[in-house]
């Protein structure tokens, strides 16, 4: 049980996919304009990560080593299709906002990375908690980045205006703002880490 909790918490801070492993930057840069987009992307990616990690760990002994990557991609694509279709059916607004980045979860390097680095060597229960922790870490990172960008770039948070008379800083709503925020946060977390040691 203790190891399972460790697998779960590792992805959130110690091996956070965005700020420590620096994986999956493409969707992070693209969809982090508003918090709603960030949460939607995070949940979709977590669902795919969870499903693919479990299935990969279950059939890891059946897959021949040489064609394992195509097999992983097929499994991941299945879950991405489920996520995309559900999003289209139940939340068309979010689907329109995220656009191409939902299908692109197939090639998200966090998902493939966990399948290749963790799920193919570990039991189903450990892979489940690893996927859940990584997904949650990715979601939290997205929420943090998109909250900063939405607040500074439009003066709002989840669509609600927080401070009256605040002149939004347009640059944070633009792609350059995404690179800026991610770079500064990465630097800040590294600074904290160096300080500790």
């Amino acid at each position: 049980m203790k190891t399972l909790i460790k697998e779960f918490t590792r992805g959130i801070i110690k091996e956070n996919p965005t700020f420590v492993l620096v994986l999956g930057l493409c969707p992070t840069l693209a969809v982090s304009v508003t918090v709603a987009n960030g949460i939607g992307m995070g949940i979709a990616a977590t669902f795919v990560l969870l499903g693919s990690s479990v299935i990969v760990s279950l059939i890891k002994d059946l897959i021949p080593d040489r064609i394992r990557i195509p097999c992983y991609i097929v499994i991941i694509a299945t879950f991405v299709t489920i996520a995309e279709m559900s999003m289209k059916a139940y939340s068309p607004v979010l689907d329109r906002a995220l656009g191409i980045y939902v299908p692109l979860i197939v090639v998200n390097c966090i998902v493939l990375g966990r399948a290749e680095a963790f799920a193919c060597n570990n039991s189903m229960s450990r892979s489940f908690f690893d996927g859940l922790g990584m997904g949650l870490g990715f979601t939290l990172a997205l929420i943090l980045i998109s909250a900063i960008r939405e607040f500074l770039g439009s003066g709002q948070l989840l669509g609600h205006t927080l401070v009256k008379g605040f002149e939004p800083i347009f640059v944070f709503g633009m792609p350059s703002g995404a690179l800026l925020v991610i770079g500064l946060l990465l630097g800040f977390f590294n600074f904290l880490k160096n300080r500790k040691t």
Partner: protein, 312 residues
């Protein structure tokens, strides 16, 4: 007696110039342009210069306290960043704008890279481009010279871009600064006085400014008009921020090449990008983007123009 014998590596020649001495001389050399800006645009210009300078210095102080670095606010570099940022703003902006720009300049343009000597871009220009991208409506409203109220007028380059430059502004007016523009860029006469101080003192060399201005003049002469070789090159030198940029911002010690050969390449590159933006780009003025882009290219220029070490 024994303590007087210090064994150290070369160079052994000692000069009085130090970082803070150079920096304070640069501050001194920017003062004429500031006075001209205040005369042309009124007291608003002075408040903006003061706000940007105070914000830049205090941001550097607070950041160095938090990160427990050595406090270097007395070396004058933050003062220059603040002054140059203010010189790149129209005089009608609200006072929080230079403050926001100065904070961004110091933190993102300089401190996160490790302070003075480590920054890859000119901090003042980083702040200006940030303000330009964030609050364009303030950054493109230029108060009319000598009117001292809220009347705005377009800059000569903006008029040229929109094809509305009907009445010709005399070169003499452009030279003295009787035109719409940023606080520190309009009065060419005052800028040249400051530049002369720096050149005579030897704190900047001619390589970057002269090649920059010459390239801009040559290319605008060739391509500036519908017919080749009919461009109004003098107009392009005297309008916009070219003189301010060439002498005070493209000559930043940290973010420009070290060798004379590299500096010539840097100046020519700046001129090329400026002309491309002015004549064919979306913005009326391209000096700040040109200098920033060449700042980014500086490590490559330095690598390929390195002096051969004697004997290798």
């Amino acid at each position: 007696m024994r303590n007087n014998l210090i064994v150290s590596g070369s160079p052994h020649i000692h000069k009085k110039a130090s970082v803070s001495r150079i920096m304070w001389t640069v501050v001194l050399s920017t003062i004429p342009a500031g006075i001209a800006g205040v005369i042309i645009f009124g007291w608003d210009a002075l408040w903006i210069i003061l706000a940007a300078t105070i914000a830049a210095v205090s941001t550097e102080w607070v950041f160095e306290l938090i990160t427990r670095r050595k406090v270097t606010i007395l070396d004058g570099s933050a003062v220059i960043t603040g002054i140059l940022l203010a010189y790149n703003l129209p005089s009608g902006v609200p006072l929080w704008l230079p403050v926001a720009g100065a904070i961004f300049s110091i933190i993102v343009g300089k401190a996160v890279f490790g302070g003075l000597g480590q920054n890859i871009f000119n901090p003042a220009l980083v702040g200006r481009v940030f303000l330009m991208a964030s609050w364009p409506k303030y950054m493109t409203a230029f108060p009319k010279p000598f009117s001292y109220d809220a009347v705005t007028s377009a800059t000569p380059l903006a008029l040229l871009k929109e094809g509305k430059l009907v009445e010709h502004i005399s070169y003499w007016n452009l030279f003295l600064g009787n035109r719409g523009g940023c606080i520190g860029e309009v009065c060419i006469l005052a800028l040249l006085i400051g530049a002369a101080i720096l050149l005579i003192k030897g704190y900047i060399t001619w390589h970057i400014p002269i090649t920059y201005i010459f390239t801009t003049a040559l290319l605008t002469y060739i391509f500036g008009a519908k017919q080749f070789f009919h461009g109004d090159w003098l107009f392009h030198i005297l309008s916009g921020g070219l003189i301010l940029g060439a002498f005070f911002m493209a000559t930043d010690y940290v973010a420009t090449p070290l060798t004379p050969k590299g500096q010539v390449i840097f100046g020519v590159g700046c001129g090329l990008i400026t002309v491309v933006i002015r004549l064919w780009g979306g913005y009326p003025e391209g000096v700040s983007y040109a200098i920033l882009m060449m700042n980014a290219a500086t490590p490559f220029i330095d690598r390929y123009t390195r002096n051969r070490i004697y004997g290798t």
